[in-house]
Symmetry: C2
């Protein structure tokens, strides 16, 4: 049985772009499977009365500097400036959740991020949503009513409640049992933990 | 001329413990010199009306889980729970600043962290302050009036203003020109940048 990691992800997150692009390569040879679990982090932030990256804050400027450097490190395309925050990121989260149920969720996440971070189309809004769906062979006229319907919205909120109860406060967060690994820069640590149950003295 | 990194550090920070303990080994073979610059991050947090790790918050619980895993990874001793936050961390910052001027600052930082994170004595308060100074051969009766005097206090506040103007919002932050690297987990990146001016395609 393969080792499994839950990757809690919200599609409006910046660092999560790196994770979406890196997962196949990083996990390929590890024998570890990553299960993406979209949730709506903004809901948790609202309940905390907190937003990590307000416009013009030093931390926000740093975040873009850091994301850009790491994208270059990994050879991941990025064109700054990126429109942020994405006001309709909840739509992207709903589509991803539906897509993962139907088997095309990962392809949607990649397309939505590429259209946002490279082509300059804000995620969750048009034309990103329609373009991303069509690129992966999905019909927006079928998908959007389902994604924005009561069932998927309820499922996204249920997942968000589970994430909050697990102590999750950021995206991506990798979970293995009660061990949380927050941030794209902890992906390798999470894989190590999934395989060996420790970070120390482990061959990767 | 060796490559230089400014390491902005506040002695009340948890992740900075890892950096203080790791710097000699990580920098030894790299030809990069790290210059520690103590500042009082709590002052910046106060001005932002923000504190990253309130008691019982999910992020705070995560921080200790993450610090403990990484300490184990690096073979750095740690005995939980650690008293946090340290109410008198400003005293530790003043002593470190004085000590760096006089040539014993790094030894003090190591001793103060070891006494805090291993021996359970809160940094900046007694008995940590006196014990740490005596362990490194410094007389508290000479050091403390100097450290708590107007000159060092003014110097610490001046350094804090410089850090804030540079966009620093956390500790440790490694600076190379206008490039900031926030967090102990960016130490290797900072060294790479200091040597090669990029993270990509660089041999470490």
């Amino acid at each position: 049985m393969p080792h499994e990691i839950d990757c809690w992800i919200t599609l409006g997150s910046t660092y999560s772009y790196l994770t979406v692009m890196r997962v196949p390569q990083v996990t390929e040879s590890s024998g570890v499977q990553v299960r993406f679990r979209p949730f709506h982090l903004l809901q948790i932030f609202k309940e905390m009365n907190y937003f990590p990256f307000p416009p013009d804050a030093p931390k926000t400027r740093y975040m873009w500097q850091d994301v850009a450097r790491r994208a270059e490190l990994y050879g991941i395309p990025l064109k700054l400036p990126v429109t942020y925050p994405a006001s309709q990121s909840i739509v992207a989260n709903r589509i991803a959740l539906l897509g993962l149920r139907e088997g095309w969720g990962y392809e949607y996440m990649r397309a939505a991020y590429r259209n946002w971070f490279v082509a300059g189309k804000e995620t969750g809004s048009e034309p990103n949503v329609g373009d991303s769906l069509r690129e992966i062979g999905q019909d927006p006229r079928r998908v959007l009513p389902l994604a924005n319907g009561a069932e998927i919205d309820g499922a996204l909120m249920a997942e968000t409640s589970i994430a909050k109860a697990a102590g999750i406060f950021g995206s991506p967060t990798f979970c293995i049992g009660d061990q949380l690994f927050w941030g794209d820069d902890r992906l390798e640590d999470a894989i190590r933990w999934a395989k060996y149950g420790t970070l120390a003295n482990a061959k990767v």
